[in-house]
């Protein structure tokens, strides 16, 4: 179906034409290819949700750098995901003002409601829960982001309401299927 759109590299990994087009646009702004490393990782992550080893190798090859060097960049940053994430990432602020305003209790509530701890994805693959440094909304603490939405003044009722559609199966640690 989409074969015409795929570029096959000799590593057997693929970037789509669209991904390559976007990465090449970024290359125009940098003096050497590796300079677009973070942009390229973000482009691929936007398309695929995360950056797999396979994608990483394909990007590295396209940027003429080693996969190890690119992985060093990828793993440095909090918002580049090197493991699959759910449809939406919950970025839960656990920094000082939110802590003073009781975020630990809210975190416990979310974990119980969704059956996940930090770094885990719900069994229905909807949400991944991650801690995030201060979201710059400390006057509205406690706060978190769900996908692109900032949600402020969190309390237990709000958590119930936000995640009313989520049903948790018995075990959170299902492992890979």
């Amino acid at each position: 179906m989409n074969d015409a759109q795929m570029i096959q590299t000799d590593l057997g990994t693929v970037l789509t034409r669209e991904e390559i087009r976007q990465i090449d646009t970024e290359l125009a702004h940098v003096p050497y290819k590796a300079g677009a490393a973070i942009d390229a990782l973000k482009i691929v992550q936007t398309q695929r949700g995360w950056v797999s080893d396979e994608s990483l190798r394909a990007i590295a090859k396209h940027l003429e750098m080693s996969a190890e060097e690119l992985d060093g960049v990828a793993t440095f940053y909090n918002l580049i995901y090197r493991r699959p994430v759910g449809e939406k990432v919950i970025l839960f602020c656990d920094s000082v003002s939110c802590w003073i305003c009781g975020c630990d209790g809210i975190k416990a509530k979310i974990s119980a409601k969704l059956g996940v701890d930090y770094g885990e994805t719900t069994t229905d693959n909807q949400y991944t829960l991650l801690p995030v440094p201060c979201l710059g909304a400390c006057d509205r603490a406690p706060v978190m982001m769900v996908g692109d939405d900032l949600i402020t003044h969190l309390d237990e009722a709000k958590i119930d309401q936000l995640f009313s559609d989520v049903t948790v199966e018995d075990s959170a640690s299902e492992g890979e299927q």
Partner: protein
């Protein structure tokens, strides 16, 4: 008081578009500069205004700009102006408001800064979580390109500038200006050795100025109305107005533009409405998570750089974090150290190894496993990790600031944890120690 930075920001906090911005005097500063001021004139006005950087360090802006090689003393090639919109300091929430509600003010400030230093390319380096600000800045940039305020030959002046919004991939250290430059170059964001300073050799080895959002938002007004006017705005020794914020358990947490030199008591009691019912003030960090605690005896101090400095802390970002009498000071410092340990870039040993060690000692004390010797260990860590020069950048010394002052002002609390074998504060105890740093980063 006259509103300057927030004059377009009403209680509804709706964004200001180009039309509304211009209708309220927007781009007058830029028009004036392009019409009648040379870059050198602009730099002189900013120097004369005594504007100091609002990113935390308070470095005089005009002086910083004066280090950029100009004219024949500069080798041919690009120069860069970068706006630092990373805002990840715990407890800091002022730049978000300025960008979400009045993006053109920042853009005008950036065009003027670029004009002054002769930059032809500029970036807003903004944390990726600020999705609303990113969208509004991009919208505002498009308006500017469409009306000749950005791009080639701006307003027929012969001056050209490109501007890009560059969302960060996320890491606190990216806010340090040389680490930010490495992030813009697509690398791991380790800070660089200085010298060379970025003003001479920054992005891609070219002269680069990095300024905070709030710093840049001041520029259009100073250029438009002059240094003397700007100096009259402060109530104490510093010039201008400042975004001050209060978070923690107060009645009315928020962020307000007030004159420099406003007394802390006024910010806390009048604007933030005082403590929530049933709570007393124990102490506060005056300028974000990497500043030293001050205590109620400091309430009548003016929020001026040198005044706060003399009291043993720093103005930092100007956003106060309030510690109340029912929140555990040890737990609060533990939360901060955990943040700094997690965000350490790992480049130098005292920070990479030292901060997790400090975190562990504090965790033991908080959990009731502490020993008296632990306090000596903490004092030792403060001394060695906190000393500027032992680490490659200011992250680790900054991390030690709340700890060293907590040991000074809240020593009793540390002792009570150790002698009682548990945390004497009940609230916040739940699930604190199950908290670990787990990310999906490999």
């Amino acid at each position: 008081m006259e509103k300057v930075l927030t004059r377009n920001i009403g209680p509804e906090q709706t964004p200001t578009d180009l039309k509304a911005y211009e209708a309220n005097g927007g781009y007058q500063g830029l028009r004036k500069a392009l019409r009648e001021l040379s870059p050198k004139d602009c730099q002189t006005v900013i120097s004369d205004s005594n504007l100091r950087g609002r990113g935390g360090a308070g470095f005089p802006t005009g002086m910083k700009w004066s280090f950029v090689p100009m004219g024949d003393s500069c080798t041919p090639g690009h120069k860069y102006l970068v706006c630092n919109a990373d805002e990840m300091e715990p407890g800091a929430f002022k730049d978000r408001l300025l960008m979400e509600c009045d993006p053109h003010q920042l853009i005008e400030g950036m065009i003027l800064a670029a004009y002054t230093i002769g930059a032809d390319v500029s970036y807003v380096f903004i944390r990726g979580e600020y999705v609303v600000a990113i969208e509004r800045l991009r919208g505002a940039l498009a308006e500017c390109y469409a009306s000749g305020l950005l791009g080639e030959n701006i307003l027929g002046s012969g001056f050209s500038l490109e501007m890009h919004v560059h969302p960060s991939a996320g890491r606190y250290i990216c806010g340090e200006e040389t680490a930010l430059i490495n992030a813009l170059e697509g690398k791991r964001a380790n800070p660089r050795a200085k010298p060379p300073f970025p003003q001479v050799s920054g992005l891609w080895g070219r002269p680069t100025i990095v300024n905070n959002v709030e710093t840049l938002c001041n520029i259009p007004h100073i250029i438009d109305r002059g240094a003397d006017w700007y100096k009259t705005l402060g109530r104490g020794e510093d010039s201008g107005t400042k975004m001050f914020g209060v978070s923690g358990r107060v009645k009315n947490p928020g962020c307000w533009e007030l004159p420099m030199g406003t007394p802390i008591r006024e910010i806390l009691e009048v604007y933030a409405g005082g403590m929530q019912d049933g709570l007393q003030l124990r102490g506060f960090l005056p300028g974000g998570g990497s500043t030293d605690f001050l205590v109620p005896e400091h309430l009548d101090l003016a929020m001026d750089y040198n005044v706060i400095g003399k009291a043993g802390s720093r103005m930092g970002t100007g956003t106060l974090i309030i510690l109340d009498d029912q929140t555990c000071p040890v737990g609060m410092v533990l939360n901060l150290i955990r943040f700094f340990a997690h965000e350490s870039c790992g480049f130098c040993t005292p920070c990479r190894e030292g901060l997790p060690w400090t975190r562990q000692v504090l965790q033991d004390i908080e959990d009731g496993r502490g020993q008296l010797e632990d306090l000596e260990t903490l004092a030792y860590q403060v001394k060695y990790i906190g000393a500027m020069g032992n680490t490659h950048c200011a992250l680790a010394p900054g991390a030690m600031e709340p700890l060293q002052s907590a040991l000074k002002y809240f020593r009793d609390d540390f002792d009570r944890h150790i002698s009682g074998g548990c945390c004497p504060y009940e609230s916040h105890k739940v699930h604190q120690h199950q908290h670990q740093q787990i990310g999906t980063g490999a």
